[in-house]
Amino acid sequence: MLLILRKIGIIILTLGINLYIVSFLNNKIIARMELRRGFKGYKRSGTGFPFFSSLKYIAKDYDFSVWDIIIFVLSLSIWAFLPISYNISLVESDFNLIAVIIIYVLIIIFRIFSVSYSKYGFIISDSLKRINQILALMLPMFFCILSVAVLNSTLNFRTIINSQYQLWNIAYQPVGFVVFFISILLQIKLLNLFDLNKFTFEGNILKEGEGISKLVHRFSGYIIIFFMIILFNTLYLGGWEKLYMIRGDIMVALKFYVVLIFIIIFERSISNINNETKIINLSYKILLPLSVFNLLLTIVFYILRNVYSLV
């Protein structure tokens, strides 16, 4: 019992520290990309800017809704199934992958539900469109995950990582790697998760909610980004496998931040995509066929290796 509590404490501490670093880094990198200075401490509150800027929503008036509690609980519970590092994992079962995906889909659906009784009619139609687009983007992502699962013939994260001790999955699945990256990049773009600079007009899911619910939305936004990067890391980049002398924990952190910076810069290189048909065309005509092709290739490979043991 104590061991579990200790693990939960470690998970929350890790998340908290990384949340702080990521929001600070995000602000700084975006500012430097636009040739601005970014946040620079003015007076006492300067040191803890990401902390204070989110904490201030507690001080505002707010209405609390059920959706916020559900989203908050879900976005914490995702880490029970997805191990960040080899000693931080709570539930060990053979169906971790499926559980994680279900929770992820639920978070996004609840986020969209929680804003759909907004008084801005514009946002309702906009968020309905976004469900359509995100679903179109999720499908290729699922096929990619499935092909990794087939490759390693397991649904458990620990086994997936352990089987990458020689070569990372990126070597076996280059097509899946690219499709997965594009898919998560576009999802982050569509959900406007990196939205610190609020100077936009487009209907935005993060715009909704006030007071604490805004805080929850922001928190869950960052959690989704963390989840995507950790999943990406686990599936293709070898997770906590150590490289020469570097320890596993440090490798995870290193890969996490490299991928994060890549995603931040890529996210800013694309203009806002709100054209529904364009996204759906892109996903159904390019990403989905590629991922299906990748899956078929993997199945053929699997059959050749395991049934006929040719490879």
Binding site: I30, M33, E34, L35, R36, G121, F122, S125, N197, F199, T200, F201, E202, R268, I270, S271, N272, I273, N274, N275, E276, K278
Partner: protein
Amino acid sequence: MTNEELKFNIEKHPINHAEDIEKEIDILFGNKIGAIYNFGKELLFDVSPDNLSEVLNILRNNPDLEFNVLAYIKKKPEKNLLLIGLLSYDKGITINIRVKNIIAERRIDYKSIIDSVKKYFKNAQYYSDRQYLKDTNRDAVILSQLPETLDTFDIYLSFEDNIINQAYLSNEISMFNQDILFKNSDINKIIAKINILSYKAAVFPELCFCLGIENLLSLKIPKRATYIRMLLCELFRISSHLSFIANTSLIIGNQNALNYTLTEKEKILNIIEIITGSRVIPNFIRIGGVKKDIDDSIIKMILKSLPGIFKNIRKIEDLFSSDIVILGKLKEIAYLNIKDARSFGLTGPNLRASGFRYDLRKDAGYLLYKDFSFTIPLGRYGDNLDRVIIRFKEIYQALKIINEIAKILPIGPVAKMMDHSAIVFEESPIISSVECPDGIFKLYIEIKPGSEIEIIPIGPVSNNMHACEQSLEGCNFDNLLTTISSFCIESPEMY
């Protein structure tokens, strides 16, 4: 060029037609119209409400006259006055009809007059009561929001499956009464106040007002002063277009383009501040010249900074014209062909984007634009992309003009010495017009005894809004914002 083409071009070229028309008017209209005033390419008729219908009939249906476009209608209920503008693109002449009752007590019946105009000009319905704005059976209303082009009006929409059936823009929230603004002001005070009428390019109302008064007094302006005026005009044109580009990139969601544009705009505003002393409100043009002279060091500084600005704006254009996502939002959306664009009475870049060449800088020849060689950029299809790209091209042309002016700025006085208080104005209306960044900006000025001045500004806002409404029909809902921003409807309207 073959002989026939040459002949055609000569016939089409608008030279001195205003005088010809003025001569013919007596034969055509008889005593149906009162006084006639001539201001270069602008004519002003006095017509009583009873004769208006017949006059319009003659103007519309006579094949020689070709006044087939309604440019504007301005209602002035408290002054008992109505202004109607008819435009002939081919001849480059505007006929302004002033409807006024001879008997002071009798009020003009605006509704019946606009109904009678509607018979001859289809787009007059824009100026009458629009019932749709009051109905409750519309699908969506978008209230005015943050970015600059979208904040002066509410949008009323009815749509089906993402395709817009009807769109109405209502600028009731941004209209304001300018009578209070100009209350108890003489000429000098008005110059300091009038620049608020077009706040993105504040030099143009000043210039328009001063040109009008100078026309009335038939003053001759020193060459150096005229060149400095043109320099300022082009600088403000660039600054206005840059803020348009900043807006569009904000709506498209390209933060990089927004930031680069704001940086470049800062440089232009810097030059403006060095010359005039203020970043936005110049208060620089005076009757008979300009307020103060420019040093040689400033001109050297301008010449030095121009290549850098040109290079950076090229970079921004490259960002716009090679990104698939941006092109997807702009290309082949909201077409406006030449015929439609002309029927709304459009002017400025929005008209030129459709491919029709009409620019007061060359056609009317105000200031000394004829001394400089520059081309008027034209679009081809009149879609959103053309409307954006044409503004980039106009910026390059403006930079070229500035470069030329800075090189050949003549030496001489910058203002005519005169005592403003000693001038006695004869009581007569003036109409003067300039090519503003968004279209033609017109001022109707009436000087009354006791030097009280009455001004009616006539901007390009309502024409742009009407054209925007029409081109939105059949457009996808996703492209609503980019389409509206591409028409550049920004400054509020006066009534």
